[in-house]
Amino acid sequence: MTSTGIEQPQTARTARAPRPSRPPREGFSPLQWGLLFLFCIYSLLPLWWVLTTMTKSNGQLYSTFGLWFASPSNFAENVQLLFTRENGIFARWLLNSFLYAGVSAIGSMMFAAMGGYAFAKFQFRGRDALFTMILATIMVPSTALALPIFLLMQQIGLINTYWAVILPSLVNPFGLYLMRLFWEAGFPTDLMEAARIDGASEGKIFWQLGLPLVRGGLVTVALFSFVGAWNNFFLPLVVVNKDTLFPLTLGLSVWNQTSSSSGQDPIYTVIVLGALVSILPLIIAFLSLGRYWQGGLTSGATKG
């Protein structure tokens, strides 16, 4: 959307320009190709290794060439092992991750949409101070929060519950910041005033008139919250120790620990397959919603 808006006037203008000296060129120079290619290998090689390794038994991991598939392939056995080990707890972790990330995405999106709306569209006492304070908390390290959260949760008996992971993930200060930008850019104040004169209630203005106009922002914030919660490791590590409550990140890390300790059958190739499963939803989200992904970054980057 934004890209076509920028590109077209550019080409139109270069056509009129008296000296169109090498406008955005058609292709890369050999040096550029080389650099791109190198960085591409660096980015993709570990992922390629994942694809080849998931076809191997743990024995083949040591006996075969690292960057090619195993034959005979052990892929089916790995899939079976992954989903049956410890009574199929991996599927439970997968569901937990979807639950944690899904609730966090929807919850923090709504909170950020409402809060951002208040900051963007209303004048109130202490607005700027409050906003600065909220933004500053982006810099508070997660450990500084997780330890006291653990103790507070312990006092109210929420340790080892789904709530212990979900509740803290509902706050996304950066999401609030993004939503404020989206409200400022996407919802004209004139439109709001006009709706008020027509007698629309404040709730209706926000819900029916405003929200559809900042849909891009909503998707962006939901996406970032989803990724943040999906990747979260420290908080679950601190607040849950029952393996039925683990998200994927924590579960795989524990498998890695037991797999590496003596007297256990190492299951590294199964862990690698599990790692791929844990990445897939994010890759799909990225490829299908890439537009929003970049939209959030853009507004975050250009409007300091």
Binding site: I6, V140, P141, V171, S253, T302
Partner: protein, 286 residues
């Protein structure tokens, strides 16, 4: 004014959660950090008020200071290198018209960001392992990437791998937002491609670079997952980063007061380092 209460209605849900899971924990951490663990007589250790004793202890704790040193090394080497590569790639991709190759590289560079830090740590941990590493297989060498002399660089590589593409996309998006007529003006003045990059693109990229810098600093101060998951695979010292040291100290001794003090110190250091960058952003937009 009719709308005096309306904003507060919209703010309430966020502020409630924010207070419960940001303000209260930070306040509680400050409170906790004032208590020290002390054994009284033969009884079990008790938490007694110790004033700033935990903070004094932290600055005399060589293990903690070492972990801070590691992080400073990260800030001095890994962060600039990562931002340099990200900027170079963004400029290269921005220098040509959009097409298949360009889109392919953008997607390829971004993919590592979709890998959670823990998972990236696991995968690279296996790639680093002496017997498995395809690098060793290809070169016939027997490098131990997890040996203490290069461990920090191996962790730096994991972080670089995960985040360079993300930063590149941020910078690329900012470049795409530069209006075309600015280039036009520069070209009519006869500016070469290099001069356009040097005098037009890079200055306009500054806010995005600053933002990238801030987020990299914040992220670096918090590095935890990558070294943590490498621990079972090789010898990783407890104090490789401040966060691993803090977590393991608390998990081992249950000394929450000291852990809280370390966390507060890290928060303050992050604030100081980031405000250095933030001032830059303000200067740009104001």
């Amino acid at each position: 004014m009719r709308y005096r209460t309306t904003p507060w209605f919209f703010l309430t849900p966020f502020l409630l959660a924010f207070t419960a899971f940001f303000i209260a924990p930070v306040g509680y951490a400050i409170y906790l950090s004032l208590f020290i663990k002390k054994r009284v007589g033969f009884g079990p250790a008790q938490n007694v008020f110790g004033g700033l004793e935990n903070y004094v202890r932290a600055f005399q704790d060589t293990a903690f200071l070492q972990s801070l040193g590691n992080i400073l090394l990260f800030l001095a080497i890994q962060v600039p290198l990562m931002i340099l590569v990200a900027t170079a790639m963004a400029l290269i991709l921005d220098s040509v018209k959009k097409g298949f190759a360009q889109k392919f590289f953008r997607t390829a560079f971004y993919l590592p960001y979709t890998v959670p830090g823990v998972i990236a740590g696991l995968l690279w941990g296996y790639l680093y392992s002496k017997n498995l590493s395809p690098l060793n297989q290809i070169t016939g060498l027997n490098t131990d990437f997890l040996s203490s002399s290069i461990l920090l660089f191996s962790i730096g590589n994991i972080v670089t791998w995960t985040w360079t593409g993300y930063n590149m996309i941020t910078l690329y998006a900012a470049l795409q937002n530069i209006p075309g007529d600015i280039y036009e003006a520069a070209r009519i003045d006869g500016a070469s491609n290099w001069n356009v990059t040097r005098y037009v693109k890079l200055p306009l990229l500054r806010p995005a670079l600053t933002l990238t810098g801030i987020f990299s600093v914040i992220g670096t101060m918090q590095i935890f997952s990558e070294p943590f998951v490498l621990r079972p695979l090789g010898y990783v010292p407890d104090n490789i980063t401040p966060n691993t040291y803090l977590y393991l100290a608390v998990a081992r001794d249950g000394n929450f007061g000291y852990g809280a003090a370390l966390a507060i110190i890290m928060a303050v250091l992050t604030l100081i380092l980031s405000s250095f960058f933030l001032r830059n952003v303000r200067g740009e937009t104001a």
